[in-house]
Amino acid sequence: MAKKVLVIDDNEQDRKIAERYLKKSGYSEIVMAVNGQEGLTKVDSDNPGLVILDTVLPDTLGFDVCRKIKDSKGSQAPVVIMMTGTVDAVDAVRARQSGADDYCVKTADGGPLLAALKNLSDKNI
């Protein structure tokens, strides 16, 4: 569980909420990025094992960032969970197509994110 996690989200509150639930799930080393460009840079520099990625970013779309991460790293690419503030079936499909490993909705209680993280640990990724 010593994986480094990168959270890419422009919303500060959402980053904090994510951080809390990540820590609750046992991830201690958490790096933040507030836009797509910074996120990609930190993927290179910090080499995280897991990326929590918002679908809507100020400079680009999360789907594009996801595609770039997966393309540049190949088999060495980190696990990507995409999070969204909207509830839309189309977004889930796009996330899959962009190469994301999982997709969840942002909620106050963090239920979907916790479920996704548990799902990951079950698969022992």
């Binding site: 509150q13 909420i17 809390r20 503030g85 909207t86 509830v87 942002k106 909620t107 106050a108 209680d109």
Partner: protein, 645 residues
């Protein structure tokens, strides 16, 4: 009436022509017929009358001529000079004979006078006959024998017979005409007795040919192309012409007509001593109109005649003139009828043409009729009507454009509103999520450190955030209903309801709701996701209200009815019911009849139901009375309207 039926098919032009022809030609035909008939009769009468007049004048000329010749002889017979000459010549003839000196001397004395007399009176011969019948003077012949002697041998001698008869009757005698083949001439002999006191001295006898008579009959003036006069005498049982005929110049004494023969009826009647006129067959066998007379003093029959055909030629000419006149009139009537019909029919045709052009959609067409009559007025009001039509169409078009514009504006406003609702709801979520999350964290981390009031306040924050979250979720659902168009598919409604019941099974179990679902539910072509929202909201509502009102026996019923072109579904509960005055309002957004304390929910559910039903071309309504439960109906068309995505 089949005739009237056929008349309906005839064009106006032809009706006019037929009508004009009927009106003009019927009187024309009648008047022509009458005038032709009366004219023909008048003409015939006229021709007959003029023929009679000419015949009379011919006959009179002939009679006068013959009388003049006879009278001249008679006068000579009474002259003392002639009696003296006859006496002296007779004496010389008897004394010395015809060869003697004495006779020649006497003859030489009188011969110039006698020859002069003969020539001046136009006789071919002049003879003096002694009482015993000897020719004591003749201008052209010598006859040694006495006329008595001649009469013994030649009974037919006109000369001898005339002399003897004249002597016996003491009157002028006229013989029949006689033809002399040697001289190729016809003669008549006139003998007048000469007396001195009671003594019969002898006679003066003249011979006269038919030249002058022929000239009279050969004058055809007033007799047209076929008319002629003819003279004949009766010899035995034959009528013998003594003059040439118009169509037989060698007829004199050669042409004879037996009495009783079929031809020459006119001359037969004349020589038989009759007088009359009428249609007969002439010597040529032709039908003629003839006049016949008999001159007893000369024993001559005279006729004047003209071919019936010629008489009728005039009538035929008249008839032809009338026919030509009728023909000209016919052409005039026809032209007039055509012109009149044209002047009426062509504006009507023009109107028909223009109205069919207008019917075809070209409202710029106008009738070009400038006449001032009723048809002109009709065309004028037709054109004004078309103007009005153009105006009305333009105003309808303007109204339609206005409506279209308003519709677009409304649609745009609706879209903007939906978009606004979506944006606002969406943007509200993130801060709300923050509030809820951090309130939750507060609850997790610091609940122990709060006193009772602090705990209560924190709980209210959490409650408020979750209520607001519900509202936002519902608003998003509502806006998504309008915003997103999913493809239509055939949806098994029973399966759809079952999946919904799966989502609300907790409530059903908790509230002990008795659920009745109609066994046979159809498969319906619709937007599956939206349709599930409809059933979810209606079933949720029904569970909520029936359970609240009727705790001992809450009941929900789902059913279906085939409503012709629509599928009709209903969801019924035995809850508190709805006052009819709110039946329309319940479908309004955020419209709640009860506080959220009593019944949870946001008041968006029925709006969603209404939007989905109307989006499919159906409708939704409620039947209910206060306290007696409610039944919500909605319809979906079996054939869906086209989506304008």
């Amino acid at each position: 009436m089949p005739v009237l039926g056929k008349i309906k098919l005839v064009s106006i032009t032809n009706k006019f022509i037929l009508g004009f022809l009927f009106i003009a030609l019927l009187p024309l035909a009648i008047s022509t017929y009458i005038s032709y008939n009366s004219s023909r009769d008048a003409l015939r009468e006229e021709v007959t009358r003029s023929l009679l007049a000419i015949a009379d004048s011919k006959i009179n000329q002939i009679e006068a001529y013959l009388n003049a010749k006879r009278d001249a002889v008679e006068e000579l017979s009474h002259e003392s000079d002639i009696a003296d000459i006859l006496k002296n010549l007779t004496a010389a003839y008897n004394n010395a004979g015809i060869e003697s000196e004495e006779y020649n001397r006497v003859m030489a004395e009188y011969k110039p006078f006698l020859l002069y007399t003969q020539r001046s009176l136009g006789y071919t011969d002049l003879m003096l006959v002694s009482a015993d019948g000897h020719l004591v003077f003749s201008a052209s012949k010598t006859e040694p024998r006495s006329l008595y002697e001649i009469a013994l041998y030649d009974k037919n001698s006109k000369l001898a017979r005339a002399f003897i008869t004249a002597k016996e009757s003491s009157q002028v005698q006229l013989s029949d005409f006689q033809y002399d083949p040697q001289r190729n001439k016809a003669f008549v002999v006139i003998a007048a007795p000469i007396s001195f006191g009671s003594d019969f001295l002898g006679a003066i006898v003249v011979e006269m040919d038919n030249k002058r008579l022929s000239a009279l009959t050969l004058d055809y003036e007033g007799l047209g192309d076929t008319g002629e006069a003819s003279i004949a005498f009766k010899e035995k049982d034959q009528a013998v012409f003594i003059t040439p005929l118009r169509f037989d110049p060698r007829a004199a004494f050669k042409r004879k007509i037996a009495i009783g023969e079929e031809v020459g009826g006119d001359i037969q009647r004349a020589v038989e001593g009759n007088r009359g006129s009428g249609p007969v067959v002439d010597y040529r066998g032709k039908n003629v109109l003839a006049v016949w007379r008999y001159l007893p003093g000369f024993r001559l029959g005279i006729t004047a005649k003209i071919d019936t055909q010629e008489v009728f030629t005039a009538a035929t000419r008249l008839r032809n003139i009338l026919l030509e006149f009728s023909l000209v009139l016919l052409v005039i009537v026809f032209s007039m009828a055509f012109l009149m019909a044209h002047s009426i029919a062509s504006p009507i045709k023009e109107l028909t043409r223009v109205s069919s052009v207008i019917t075809g959609g070209d409202l710029s067409a106008r009738a070009r009729i400038t006449t001032q009559d009723e048809i002109g007025e009709l065309a004028g009001s037709f054109n004004r009507m078309t103007d009005r039509l153009v105006e009305a169409k333009a105003s309808v078009e303007r109204e339609r454009e206005k409506l279209e514009e308003q519709k677009k504006l409304l649609e745009k406003a609706n879209q903007e509103l939906d978009s606004f609702v979506y944006t606002v709801s969406h943007d509200l979520r993130a801060p709300l999520r923050g509030v809820a999350a951090f309130a939750h964290f507060l609850e997790e981390d610091y609940l122990d450190k709060l006193d009772a009031e602090g705990k209560e306040n924190l709980r209210e924050i959490v409650k408020g955030t979750s209520r607001m979250n519900l509202l936002i979720e519902d608003l998003l659902t509502l806006s998504r209903i309008s915003r997103i168009q999913n493809p239509y598919e055939d949806v098994d409604i029973r399966g759809l309801i079952d999946s919904i019941l799966e989502r609300v099974k907790f409530d059903i179990k908790e509230m002990k709701v008795e659920l009745n679902i109609q066994e046979l539910l159809p498969s319906v072509r619709c937007d599956r996701i939206k349709m599930s929202e409809v059933f979810l909201n209606l079933i949720n509502n029904a569970i909520k209200f029936s359970a609240k009102n009727n705790k001992s026996n809450p009941r929900v019923e789902i059913g279906y009815a085939d409503a012709g072109e629509f599928h009709q579904f209903f969801v019924r509960d035995n809850g508190i019911g709805i006052d009819p005055q709110y039946h329309q309002q319940v479908f309004g957004i955020f419209k709640r009849l009860h506080s959220s304390e009593e019944y949870q929910g946001t008041g968006v559910g029925l709006s969603i139901v209404q939007r989905v039903a109307e989006d499919h071309g159906g409708k939704v309504w409620v039947e209910s009375e206060l306290g007696k439960g409610a039944t919500f109906y909605f319809t979906i068309p079996k054939v869906l309207p086209e989506k304008n995505v």
